[in-house]
Structures are given as C-alpha cells and as structure tokens.
C-alpha cells in the first residue's frame, strides 16, 4: 500500500490562524447584517487573515511537495480529500436546485390552486394563476422580464465548455512535459473563465437595470440569482486557483508524473462546468 514514508507534519500553526480568521469573518458578517458599525471592519480583518492563512498553508504544502516529502499514499489522501470536497459542493448546489424544483413542481402550482393548495388559492389569492417565471401572488419586486437562454447564456455555455477543453489540452501538455504549451492553454482557460464572469456581470447589470429582475423578484429572482450567483462565486474561486497553478507552472512546479495540485484545480474547473450545464438547462432553458 504505502510506499516510502507517510509524511506527518510535526505541528501546524496555520489552522488556528484560519480559525481566528473565520471567527472574525463570521462576527463581522453577522454584525454587518444587523447594521452594526464595526461589522465591515471585522469582516475585512477576518478575510485578510484567511487570505494570509491560505498563502501560508498552501506555501508550506507546496514547499513540502516540491521538496519530495510526499509519497504516493499522501498523494492519494489529497486526491480523496479533493474528491469528497467537490462532492460536498455538489450537495450544496443540490440544496438550491432542490429549492428550484420544489418551487416549480409544487409550491407555485399549489399557490395557483392545484392539489392541496385549492383553499390557499381560494381564500388568499383567488386571482393568482400559477406560471413560471413568477414573483408570486404578492408580485414581489414588481414586473420583470427574464433573460432568454439562447443568447448570452448559450454563449457562456460554449465558453465554459471550451475552457473544459483547453484545460484538458493543458493537462496533456503537462504530461508531455511541454511547458510552453501548458502555460499557453492555462492562460487560455483563465481568459475564458474571466470572459464568462464578465458576461455574467453584464447580464446581472442588464437584469437589474433594464429587466427589473432582482434578488427580490419573488421565487424566480431568488432561485435565479442564488444559483447563478453561487456558481459565479465558484467560477471566481476556480479562476483564482487556475491563476495560482499557472504561476506555479511558470516557476517550473509539477512534473509529468506528479501534479496533483494541477489535477485538483482541473477537477474543480470541470465541476463548475457541470454545474453550469445544469444551470443552463434548468434555470435558463426549461
């Protein structure tokens, strides 16, 4: 099973730094939400400490990895860690997709008087007819229009799918030890990610400014912005991770055989890609 030594670090100072960062971040966020004046400061301090922790912690790991301290068993542990982390992210998105499906399949039809909702409709909102998209019988957020799927979202789909190809080309280049090509395809992937984010940003501005579609536009606005928003956040994180990996590639890190850091980020990128496909289908198209 294990070949060579399984590296067990003697002590770790970064986790406690991370805990303090998370603590300040959480206190700050809660205070901020409640309108406390110190909230943003705590939030920023916590965020800063977490960024510091990430640099320190990953720095240690990268140095140990490049120093050849990890054997194949450590590599397998990292792989399993990343796989299960991505699975947990899938389940996080599943909660929001679940909310979308429940609203469309049950909540909205029931408000319209279907099935068990007959009396709710009759007594509370007799004029309400179930449709999708909807901002509910209370017409929260005012009138709005939706973003058609076969416009920019389709373009974004093609961009993300292409980025999935370019990162695979980068992987192939890494495996063939073609460093220049590797960096070229990495930069291409990052650019595609950034273009995706720009288009998403443009779409958000368009929705808020021209279409009247906001986070407050009833259940449609809630599910639309929370799903695409969390996805966009993950693309942002993925892009940052890609940038870090590209810099590491430029520094000559990773070898043909040993490049878990690269693969982990590639997996993550494919994961945000797949989530987008589900989003495109269920949020924009259907």
């Amino acid at each position: 099973m294990a070949q060579g030594t399984y590296y067990v670090p003697h002590s770790a100072k970064w986790p406690i730094v991370g805990s303090i960062g998370l603590f300040l971040l959480a206190i700050g966020a809660a205070n901020w939400l409640n309108g406390g004046p110190t909230g943003p400061w705590f939030f920023a301090a916590g965020g800063g400490i977490i960024i510091l922790m990430l640099f320190g912690w990953f720095g240690d790991v990268i140095r140990e990895s490049e120093g050849g301290m990890y054997n194949s068993a450590v590599d397998t542990s990292f792989r399993q860690g990343m796989i299960w982390f991505i699975f947990s992210e899938v389940m996080f998105f599943a909660a929001f997709f679940g909310a979308l499906f429940y609203a469309r399949m049950f909540a909205v039809p029931w408000l319209g008087g279907e099935g068990t909702g007959a009396m709710t409709n009759e007594l509370l909102w007799p004029d309400y007819e179930a449709t999708w998209p909807t901002h509910g019988p209370g017409e929260l957020g005012g009138d709005f229009q939706t973003i058609p799927g076969f416009g920019l979202p389709l373009l974004n789909t093609l961009i993300l799918l292409t980025s999935g190809i370019t990162i695979t080309l980068a992987h192939w280049a890494l495996k063939r030890a073609q460093r220049g090509l590797l960096i070229f395809w990495m930069i291409a992937t990052i650019l595609l990610g950034v273009i995706f984010l720009f288009i998403q940003g443009y779409e958000y501005v368009h929705a808020y400014r021209d279409l009247g579609l906001t986070l407050g536009s009833g259940i449609y606005g809630s599910t639309f912005f929370m799903l695409t928003g969390f996805h966009g956040l993950h693309v942002t994180l993925g892009a940052i991770m890609l940038i870090v990996i590209t810099i590491r590639c430029a520094y000559g890190h990773f070898s043909k055989e040993n490049h878990f850091g690269f693969e982990a980020v590639a997996w993550y990128w494919h994961f945000v890609d797949v989530v987008w496909l589900a989003l495109f289908l269920f949020v924009y198209v259907i």
């Binding site: 070949q3 929001f96 509910g136 009833g218």
Partner: protein, 536 residues
Amino acid sequence: MSQETTAHHDDHDHHPTGIARWLFTTNHKEIGTLYLVFSLIMFLIGGAMALVIRAELFAPGLQLVNPEFFNQMTTMHALVMIFGAVMPAFVGLANWMVPLMIGAPDMALPRMNNWSFWILPFAFTLLLATLFMPSGAPASGWTLYPPLSLQGGNSLAFVILAIHLMGISSIMGAINIIATILNMRAPGMTLLRMPLFIWTWLITAFLLIAVMPVLAGAVTMLLTDRFFGTSFFDAAGGGDPVLYHHIFWFFGHPEVYIMILPAFGIVSEIIPTFSRKRLFGYTSMVYATASIAFLSFIVWAHHMFTVGMPLGAMLFFMYATMLIAVPTGVKIFNWISTMWRGSMTFETPMLFALGFLVLFTIGGFSGLMLAIVPADFQYHDSYFVVAHFHYVLVTGSVFAIMAGVYYWLPKWTGYMYDEKLGKIHFWWSTIWVNVLFFPQHYLGLAGMPRRIPDYAVQFTEFNMISSIGGFMFGFGQLLFVYIIWKCARGGEKATAQVWEGARGLEWTVPSPAPLHTFDTPPVVDDSVAVHKDNLS
C-alpha cells in the same frame, strides 16, 4: 519490516509544550482528546440548559424564567447537544481510535484535522454569545423554521454563521476520516476485516459530507430571506415555508443516523469483547449499516406529516420509515446472538452497551409508532416526540459514547478507571434517565405539547417526576467527570490488552498508547481481525 514503510515525524527536534502543544498539534490522539474534552464541556453546558427547562416545568405556571428565555433554552440546548456534545464526541473517538484500529500512523490529513477541531470552540463562542445579546439567543427551536426564525432578533445571523462554521468543521472532519479509512489501512486490513466501529464511521462520514452542505444551503436561504429580500420561504413571492422543512429534514434525518451509526459501531466492539465471542453476523452488520444510511435519505418527510403533504407522499415516507426497522432489527438480533452462550462479564462498558441495547430499542419502537401517519397526527409536536428522541439520543448515542469512553479510557490513560464508581455511574444514570424520560411518553400521549413553558394542571405529576429524574441524572454526570479525572491521574496500571476478551489492533499497542503508533504498519490477517469468523 522495511524501512520504507515507516512514517516520518519531524518531532524529534521538538514537541511544543503547554498551550502551543494543543493549538498546533497534528497528532490524532491529542486532537481526539481535544474533541472529547470539548464535547464533555458542551455536554455539561447543554445539560445545564436542560435543567433550566426541567426546573421551569417542575410545576405548572411560570415560575423561574420568562417564556422567551425558555424558548431560547430549548433551542440552544438542542444545538449545543447535537453539534457540540454528541457529534464532536464521536469525532473525538474516531480520531483516537480509527488510526489505532486500522494500523495507521495518523489521520490522512493531519493539519486539516487540527483545523476541524479548532473551528469548533470559535463556532460555539459565536453561538453561546447570543445568550448575552440584548435580543437574546435564537428562540425558534433548533430547526429554525421560518417564518418564526426570521422574526427573531439579531441572533439569527450569528446562529446561521455559527452553523456554517460547525458545518465546515464537520465536513473537513468527515473527509479526513474517509481518506484515513480508505487510504491508510495496514497491509491485510481488507474492507471486510475492518472493525465495525470503522465501518460505521466510514458510512457516517459519507452521510456528513452529503448532508452538512444541504444544511448550509437551507440556513443560507434563511439568511438571504431575512437580509437580502429573497422569497424562498415566503408564499407571497411564490416560495413556501414548507420548502424549508423539506431541505432541513433532508439534512436532519441523515443527521439522526450520523449521531447513532458510530454508536452502533461502539456497541459492536464492546459486546463481543465482554461476551468473549466474535461478533455474530459481521457481514450482515455492514450491510445493515449501509442500508440504514441509504434509507436515511428517503424518509425525511416523516418529520412533517402534519404540514399538509399529498397523501401519496405521506404513504411513501411512512412505509420507507418503517423499512428502517428491518436493518436495525438485524443489528439488535446480531448483538443478542453475539451474547448467546457467551462467557459474559459485566464491566462498566458492557453495562452501558447493554443499557444502550434495551433503551435504544425502546426509542426505536416509539419511532415506529411516530412513523405511522394517522398516529403521528396525534403524537406530532407532543412530549411523546421528546421522549422518543431522548431515548435514542441520550440512552442511545450518549450511553454508547459513555460505553466507548469506559472501554477505551484505560488505553488512553494507561490506568484502569474505578470500576466500582463506574458501575454506580451506570446504575444511577440508567435509573434516573428512565425516571426523566419515560413519563414524557405518557405526557405526550395525553396531549402535552413540546416547547411550552407552562402546561395544564393534569400534567403536573408526570412533569414533577420527570424533573426530579432530570436533576438526579444531570448531577450524576459529575460522577462521570470525576471518574475520568481520577483515571487520568492514576490508578491500577492497565495492560496492553486491557480486557480479557478484547481483540483488534488497538489492543496490541501499550497502554497508554504512545504518541506515535504504527509508524511501521502491522500486517493484519484473520487472527488479528476483530470480527472475522474463521469459518467464513
């Protein structure tokens, strides 16, 4: 014994002492101890909150606390006990025992292990701090159902962020446990040679990773509904408060098994040891555990039969829930069969395991009653539910944790605990816990609602009995603390095997287990494997 397979430790240069040792440790035994001590502290804090509840309910009318504070106590008691006491206790046991039981030098990801623990004290500081805020702690019940939870004070944002931190901690802990079990087993420790505690934790860890993010999603929706104008749970916007129930209980029901599967594992270690037999039906135990885990994902709506669901949905969730009795029954009968014609002795761990067996089964049966839709319409939100889940959580999970602590304490400290005091602790706890919770069945059947500080006078006697039981059980746990403290200080030296009938790798290392064990992996065959029957 090849040099290649030894684990490498950098600590020959220095091992930090004092507070730094605990803050920076990457050692699974030290982190396990941290988890267990933290859990014990939370158990006492959560217990104190329970005593406030029982004191108020000693007599009808409002005596000690105002209703708002009473509701804060019920909410915080649940959150502290579930996320602070029971879950960290199991993770602590896993930290200590998983590497020892599978022959690994440490957990797979030691730094992340440290982080998983050290998030918890901060998360609970955040949670408990809400008690001292002007608007008080959350008072909507631990389930945080909207719209009530959204109408509370400033505490909502704090409790949600605290839950996020606990979730991060749990997910990282679970990832670590899965990676350790799948990747760090000693040569020859095949999956079907693993002790059952390892199997149950492997499956529990999967459940944790699958559902903690769902809870995170649910409370995030609460947060945005409250602060950012979304309408997930607002019917006026096309949402539905019942949606929260669904998402929450999609987390909540697997969560229930997260808190009982490791208990099954502990009991499956203890009963064979003190019966001096191998576990009966090892393979069926593994499959039963996996079946329970699978079923846990398709039964959630039995927590919400009265919410107004279509009949077909209620029937499905009723039958699926009842199906859980099958694998659970397999387990119960396997434990009984293990004892059959065994050469049994009744040391404290065995007593707690047997107490678990009987009392958890009572909780299981009341669970079956609650699964029946028409009957549940009567029982729902009554004290019958409170009695049910305290039988499975206190005499189930907590008894199993105590059994595990007594069982492994000599391995941790190197000393035998005081057997006489241990037995007193068991009998004291078992008697009073029944005085505490059994009358609540009758209260519930008679119609007393839960989460109410006042009640009709006809409920007085049973409430008084229950409160007396509560105080006796609660203060009795100080004896548990004393026994642990005493055992850590000294006593009769424990042997490596500790218990005559004990089998498995953890009993091959000296007591107390040295800081680093299995730097060179042991080779495992059927003679070492705990549960494997030689005949199969």
